[in-house]
């Protein structure tokens, strides 16, 4: 079993094969952790009921409410009846099938991809699934974490396994040192701009190199989170001391001899020296600028110091047509400086950038500053616990003094399933992950940015980097 030319992803995969697929059949993989939320699970539970099947491993399953939850007045009944029904269905299903649930008002409630790591349930070397494409977030720990559809949710509930086709491996090598004001969000936006929204299709990405090693766990989560935006099946970072330090002491992290045994195993997971990736991509961290999107897919991004590109600059006819369409939807003219783009709303939140470090980084810039008059700013912590932690540190006061709204935890304006939406034509600088047409509200225009760019933009009213503040 001790081959010495395997990648991290291959090692985790191999250690979870229940039945090896033959004659083109997929491998059957065991799933160590199944995260559930209200949107993609009701039909799966219905399927179980119809077939008379139980949940095989409630002890490996956990539910929380995030997509539909309001971020104000959470002590009142949810106003939208369809949102309320969906959340009530999750509560009912959790009770009926014996699944632990963290409901609105609970300290562990929040965005499912913030909750798993915060509880210490997400660990290196495990398989994680969730009926949500941003499950890739958990790969930051060296877990193989895959977003799945509702039929697969039902499959995992019933069998705790998933038939999966083999994948290819891609190394994303990021070496060098990030300059001040440049973050992991900028790395991943630059990667997606480089390889495209379909560039990772069929691959598990492994983020490697000195710039990745230097990142905190939360910054690594931001990168892995957006692997799906490059079309990848998963994104991973090999575990190291930073991973262990983050995990140790969390309520569900192993303790005592289990911890020692786990670390010994986790230390063996790093990609072998002789392993060969199917594809390699290189990015220089030293020269990276803050990155922002100008279009309607996450691959349509440029340096914040750049201009809105001309459709003629694209050689691929599909890219060119997509650019024409995107500029029209975004109401942008090629050649406009990105920094001249005026925004209406700044959203700091989502499973990409709503953790305590994101809030701290933004608050450090906003402290003592005044909000641009034209701006509305929403700060939505990733979980109730993050909100509480921020309040302990006085961050809520900084946001409120600045003129931002301090909200309760959830997915919120990332996709606007709750009332937090943009109006038609409204333009946002958003720390979320998707700038699709209508994603944040019908007719809404989204620029994806880092928390630092979000904060600087809220001060200046136009897309800005923290460095631009010093010039004033």
């Amino acid at each position: 079993m001790t081959k010495s030319n395997l990648t991290l992803a291959e090692k985790v995969w191999n250690d979870h094969v229940v039945v090896k697929g033959e004659n083109g059949a997929p491998d059957l993989l065991f799933i160590d952790l199944h995260l559930i939320h209200e949107v993609t699970s009701p039909q799966a539970f219905d399927g179980l009921r119809l077939a008379g099947r139980p949940v095989r491993r409630p002890d490996l399953t956990i539910a929380t409410e995030d997509h539909n939850t309001p971020t104000i007045d959470i002590n009142k009944p949810i106003a939208d009846p369809t949102s309320r029904t969906q959340i009530e269905a999750l509560r009912h299903n959790a009770k009926e099938f014996g699944i632990r649930i963290h409901s609105l008002g609970d300290i562990e409630q929040g965005i499912v991809h913030v909750v798993g790591p915060q509880l210490g349930l997400t660990m290196p070397g495990i398989t994680v699934v969730c009926g949500d494409s941003h499950t890739s977030t958990h790969g930051a720990f060296g877990a193989l974490a895959i977003g799945i559809g509702t039929s697969e949710v039902e499959h995992v509930l019933a069998t705790q396994t998933l038939p999966l086709k083999p994948f290819k491996t891609m190394a994303i090598n990021v070496d060098g040192k990030l300059r001040a004001g440049v973050t992991s969000k900028d790395i991943i936006l630059a990667v997606i701009a480089k390889i495209g929204t379909g560039g990772g299709q069929g691959y598990v990405l492994e983020y490697r190199g000195s710039a990745i090693r230097d990142l905190s766990m939360e910054a690594r989560m931001t990168i892995c989170n957006m692997s799906i935006e490059a079309g990848a099946r998963a994104g991973m970072v090999a575990p190291d001391q930073i991973t262990y330090d983050y995990l140790k002491g969390r309520v569900h992290a192993p303790t005592g001899s289990n911890w020692d045994e786990a670390v010994k195993y986790w230390d063996s997971l790093a990609t072998d020296k002789d392993a060969v990736f199917d594809e390699e991509v290189f990015l220089d961290a030293n020269t990276l600028d803050p990155f922002v999107t100008w279009g309607t897919n996450p691959g349509q991004g440029v340096s914040l110091n750049d201009v809105v590109p001309s459709p003629d600059s694209f050689t691929d006819p599909n890219d060119k047509a997509a650019a024409v369409r995107a500029l029209e939807y975004m109401d942008l003219v090629a050649g406009t400086k990105m920094k001249d783009i005026k925004v209406d709303t700044v959203f700091l939140g989502s499973c990409t950038n709503s953790r305590i470090e994101d809030l701290r980084a933004a608050a450090a810039i906003l402290k003592g500053k005044t909000k641009a008059a034209n701006i509305r700013m929403l700060v939505v912590p990733g979980s109730a616990r993050v909100r509480l932690e921020a309040e302990h540190e006085g961050l809520d006061k900084i946001f409120l003094d600045f003129g931002a709204e301090w909200r309760f935890a959830g997915c919120s304006m990332c996709l606007g399933m709750n009332p937090d939406q943009l109006a038609p034509g409204e333009r946002a600088a958003s720390t979320s992950n998707r700038n699709f047409e209508g994603r944040q509200g019908k007719g809404a225009r989204t620029h994806l940015v880092s928390p630092l760019v979000a904060a600087a933009t809220a001060i200046r009213g136009t897309l800005s980097a923290p460095a631009d503040l010093e010039e004033n």
């Binding site: 219905d46 269905a89 396994t161 038939p163």
Partner: protein, 201 residues
């Protein structure tokens, strides 16, 4: 699941790349807890535009979608497949599908057939030259045929077998239940457990 072998229906050209699942079905329609009845939600935002191709009466009853590359990117919502299926689509042809969308299609008996960019263009040209024309999808031969034009599509061999046989994935997996039980007995102790809940009360 019903067995799928061959099918003929009206083809519609969707000449766009990066058709993400937020476009196929906007998030507002994901609040339903049923698994059917999503036909009204399909391309809901684009269908407000009278110029949108599905609003052309010729394509109203289309059942084969021929789309640009990177179809089904973004959110994992299986609702995207349900909406296509409920509208009446039996197959989508594109040069590139997002992985999760492709997987979801296979579970619901929607054919996601991969064709070359060149063949995509040929099909678009042929359909636009003869709007309302029928296309035949043959899962046995893996061909899409429109008049004299026949193109090959690729689909994962296992998914194809399952669709041809009409087999349910969970039923297939449960044939291996003893292997799952054996595997569970071998799992190390440090692995995460959600129950009992620890920490905050």
């Amino acid at each position: 699941m019903e067995k799928f072998t061959t099918f003929s229906g009206i083809a519609v050209p969707l000449q766009r790349s990066n058709v993400d699942t937020d476009q196929i079905i906007p998030a507002v329609y994901l609040k339903r807890i049923t698994k059917t009845g999503f036909e009204d939600a399909l391309f809901a935002s684009w269908r407000n535009d009278p110029e949108f191709i599905l609003n052309d009466p010729v394509y109203k009853h289309a059942s084969v979608l021929v789309a640009g590359p990177d179809f089904g990117t973004g959110s994992s919502r299986e609702h995207a497949v349900w909406a296509l299926r409920d509208y009446g689509f039996k197959a989508v042809l594109s040069s590139k599908f997002a992985d999760i969308f492709k997987g979801n299609s296979g579970k619901q008996g929607l054919i996601a057939g991969e064709i070359t960019d060149e063949d995509t263009q040929k099909l678009w040209d042929a359909i636009l030259a003869n709007p309302g024309v029928e296309i035949s999808i043959d899962l046995v031969q893996r061909t899409a045929t429109l008049g004299d034009l026949s193109v090959e599509f690729s689909i994962d061999e296992y998914t194809r077998w399952r669709l041809l046989e009409g087999l349910d994935d969970i039923g297939l997996t449960l044939r291996d239940e003893s292997s799952i039980t054996d595997f569970e007995a071998r799992r190390p102790n440090w692995m995460p457990k959600t129950l009992p809940a620890l920490g905050a009360k």
